[in-house]
């Protein structure tokens, strides 16, 4: 078993998501033009949770889309494992909307780059804002998040694992040391 430390528990995760939801509404002065876009896999569930919280605060039901960015990745030529693609599900028009892009961990920024390209193929949003649960540093591209749940300084041989009840059976954020096996 690799060494793993729980950094955020279930209550902590809830508080973070509540704060982010408030920040989103504050920055955009309400929810009028907003759409939520969860990035597969965990961003999708985070987006669902944020939409529920926003509904409680603002009584608004925001359009929610799911984005799969596999086809836009830049590591096909270098990675040995072939990624499994799945379907994006965006049933509304994103033209002129303020899109809140939601993912669990921000690391190199390459996934977000793919997501930006993918979104542009669906339309021309008025703005795209990035909401992230954990920023672990080590950016390789000039990308930053608008809403950050928690900054966790890491080294490259550590891994941040976000667990969500919907697929992992529990809520929490773990820091995993890959060296100690």
């Amino acid at each position: 078993m690799p060494d793993q430390t729980k950094v955020v528990d279930k209550q902590g995760l809830e508080r973070i998501l509540t704060r982010i939801s408030h920040e989103i509404l504050e920055k955009n002065k309400g929810s009028e033009n907003l759409v939520l876009m969860g990035m597969r896999t965990r961003g999708e569930f985070l987006a669902v949770r944020i939409s529920k919280i926003i509904k409680q605060i603002d009584k608004a039901e925001l359009p929610l889309g799911i984005l799969d960015v596999t086809l836009y990745r830049d590591d096909f030529r270098t990675s040995l494992k072939q990624p499994m693609v799945s379907v994006s599900n965006i049933t509304f028009d994103i033209n002129g909307k303020d899109v809140i892009l939601i993912d669990d961990v921000l690391y190199t920024g390459r996934t977000v780059r793919s997501a930006l390209n993918a979104l542009m193929d669906f339309g021309r949003p008025s703005s795209i804002q990035l909401s992230i649960l954990v920023d672990r540093g080590h950016r390789e591209l000039p990308i930053r998040a608008d809403y950050v749940g928690k900054n966790i300084p890491t080294s490259t041989n550590q891994e941040v694992k976000v667990k969500m009840e919907e697929i992992d059976g529990e809520d929490g954020i773990y820091l995993i040391d890959l060296n100690k096996k």
Partner: protein, 306 residues
């Protein structure tokens, strides 16, 4: 889980997992085809050659669109304007094209086994787009995708392939693929068009079209291939139409909801009447739309294999 082979030569001996992976992946590309911008950058920088030694409308356009929608560079080769007319051999043609640094070859050829031969003389990924009377795997895959879309599953589905079985690469690929996926497959046609020993593939042979309609969920109606001398195998087109043509009256007689597939091009009034070809039972144009998605899936899975 990547595919188990770096070529797609046919569906014979292709494991179930591979077929499932292709059909699942095709779902993603069906979604891409519904977008305002129907293009993804996945195969950027890859060069794909469409080498068609035989005529084709659907398959060639479908492959070309699939390639372009994955952002690969596409070269089209057609027999009539090439140096094959000056007598250049297949081997020399392939060697020269390969020397121009290409990644993948889509080949259609009148001789069975040509795609396999290509895998032995060059390094590109090879996709069979029809080799003589042997196999046409992407057609069978898109047929299976369309049936899965319609019925939700292939396992246990009763499919009868009707027509010129002995000259049909579509039939053979469908038989291999559908059998692997657990469907119950039969063939129907005049005895002159049913190859000997075909039942050894584990399928039923039916000589009566009414029986075929009665016993199956799906008819995959094949084209009578006059270019392969099919005309000599029955007295006249009219007689074929009378005994094996799928007409409204014939379907009405059985009063059941049967799904009709046709790989195209259609000989209207021969193997299928116009009424049926444009009617409510057929999913012929769905097959064509799905064809692009299925080919994108195959290109993606082979093209991103390292």
């Amino acid at each position: 889980m990547p595919l188990s082979s770096r070529h797609l030569l046919g569906l014979q001996n292709v494991p179930k997992e591979d077929i499932q992976l292709i059909l699942e992946t095709a779902n993603t590309f069906r979604e891409v085809l519904e977008r305002p911008i129907k293009k993804v950058p996945t195969l950027q920088g890859k060069t794909i050659v469409n080498l068609f030694y035989e005529n084709s409308t659907r398959t060639r356009i479908s492959f070309e669109l699939a390639e372009k929608r994955l952002s690969s560079d596409t070269i089209n080769f057609s027999l009539s304007t090439s140096s094959v007319k000056k007598g250049e051999s297949l081997k020399d043609t392939i060697k020269n094209i390969e020397a121009m640094k290409i990644d993948m070859i889509i080949i259609r050829h009148a001789a069975a086994g040509t795609p396999l031969y290509l895998t032995k003389i060059c390094n590109a990924n090879i996709i069979n787009a029809g080799d003589g009377i042997h196999e046409h795997p992407t057609q069978a895959l898109l047929d299976m995708y369309s049936l899965r879309e319609r019925f939700g599953k292939l396992d246990g589905l009763k499919v009868c392939i009707v027509g010129d079985i002995s000259h049909s690469r579509v039939a053979l690929s469908n038989i291999f693929g559908l059998k692997t996926m657990g469907a119950k497959v039969s063939v129907c046609g005049p005895s002159t068009m049913i190859p000997r020993f075909i039942e050894k593939l584990g399928i039923d042979v039916i000589y009566d079209i009414d029986k075929a309609i009665k016993e199956n969920d799906v008819l995959n109606v094949l084209r009578i291939q006059l270019e392969r001398n099919a005309g000599g195998l029955f007295p006249s087109l009219r007689e074929y139409a009378k005994y094996f043509g799928i007409t409204r009256e014939r379907l009405d007689k059985h009063n059941k909801d049967i799904t009709i597939l046709h790989p195209g091009p259609i000989n209207r009034g021969v193997e299928i009447s116009s009424e049926v070809a444009d009617g409510g039972n057929q999913i012929i144009l769905h097959q064509v739309t799905n064809g692009v998605a299925v080919r994108m899936a195959v290109l993606y899975l082979l093209g991103t294999l390292n």
